[in-house]
């Protein structure tokens, strides 16, 4: 039984084995569904020269923004950045290499990487600076560029509930990039709000089957809101 028990009980154990120079794939969109405690653990370990794949780079003092404070990220693949002053400064000073990547292409890089597909053609970015230097092929009269997929040394993921086998469900739009990230790590670590008994999650409702998951940890989350918009009246 223990062979399938993915639970770990400290964040130190959850991120065991992460080293400088590694590639880390992170779930989350903005501050929604980010693995906030796993990121904090990476900060605590002070590993450097990380390559990060994430849609955004957090905000000042929270999320991946934490890893900017000690310049732990040397390169990031993201679709939208610069919501944080520190990021802006590091980008303008060339202290961080930013590879701007269309959002759908970023998601597909993770999905394909996890599915054993090394590259894929997409029309996204053809004829733009994103397509420059990339292989182009025509299919049915349309042009497509070749994009390479990604597999990370670590994938860090935020789920809602999981069982000890590593089956995960996500909650609402906190799903976002998390299911693809979960497939694309050589070591995939998922932090969740609640670990439940096997059988409590309906098998046909599982978003991420446990086969993709190496470690599960239950945590508590701040869940900061980036843009608080409310309905008046």
């Amino acid at each position: 039984m223990a062979g399938f028990d993915k639970r770990v009980y400290s964040y130190e154990d959850a991120m065991d084995g992460i080293e400088s120079g590694m590639t880390v794939i992170a779930g989350g969109f903005g501050l929604c569904g980010i693995p906030e405690n796993l990121i904090a653990e990476i900060k605590r370990r002070r590993v450097k020269d990380l390559t990060v794949y994430s849609n955004n780079c957090g905000v000042d003092g929270f999320g991946l923004g934490l890893l900017l404070e000690d310049r732990q990220i040397s390169r990031i693949f993201a679709s939208y950045v610069g919501e944080n002053a520190l990021f802006e400064r590091q980008m303008l000073n060339d202290e961080i290499e930013v590879v701007l990547t269309p959002q759908g292409t970023l998601a597909e890089k993770m999905r394909a990487g996890g599915a054993g597909i090394p590259a894929f053609y997409t029309a996204t970015g053809y004829g733009t600076p994103i397509g420059e230097g990339k292989e182009v092929r025509e299919f049915n009269g349309r042009h497509y560029i070749l994009e390479e997929s990604v597999v990370g040394d670590f994938a860090i993921v935020k789920g809602w509930k999981a069982d000890r086998y590593g089956n995960v469900v996500y909650r609402d739009t906190a799903q976002n990039f998390n299911p693809m990230a979960a497939t694309a790590g050589r070591i995939t670590v998922v932090e969740v709000e609640e670990i439940v008994e096997p059988g409590e999650l309906k098998p046909d409702q599982i978003h991420t089957p446990g086969i993709y998951v190496d470690r599960i940890i239950q945590g508590t989350f701040e869940k900061r809101i980036e843009k608080r918009t409310v309905h008046q009246g």
Binding site: F29, L92, L100, Q103, A107, T124, P129, T173, P179, T229
Partner: protein
Amino acid sequence: MALTREQMAQRVARELEDGFYVNLGIGIPTLVANYIPGGIDVMLQSENGLLGMGRYPTEDELDPDMINAGKETVTARPGAAIFSSAESFAMIRGGHVDLTVLGAFEVDQNGNIASWMIPGKLIKGMGGAMDLVAGAENIICTMTHASKHGESKLLESCSLPLTGAGCINRVLTDLAYLEIENGTFILKERAPGISVEEIIEKTAGKLIVPDHVPEMTFDV
């Protein structure tokens, strides 16, 4: 008078059809949701992974796990679906979204669009815009017709780095509604009180002006 942002949203909303799945970009496109004509049902797609976006939440409904592509807190309407970002962009690139509305810095007579990058200024990224313009067959671009200094944004050839090539066929500006076909803009409607001459003067790209160009009308 040039159209207000609200009038631009109203005009775009007339292009909505019953049963449309629609992706609305940030800015004026977002306002379109306020003017969905009565008697028709549309589903709003938000590219972070939500089909059937509802209104903003009340204080009681506020939930950090429930946001839209602009990172604003939202609700899901009855009948909504939530999914991963890969699934979301499968819908977008696969051409399943019926209408996409987005803003731009420049559009040219060949349907090229520039909307994400001004060299020399801070570049924040394209988000989902490149996937949206590459995937959608039906796109309406909303923008001001000319810059504050009077320089046309409807060009012979975009000067800024592109978001997508040859993908735009409809543009609504604060002065006019135009279509793009075979390498030329075609003037279809003009804003109330705006002369054809002014539109010609402020359109740098090739422009076909039909004999009769109707004036848009608004209730308010």
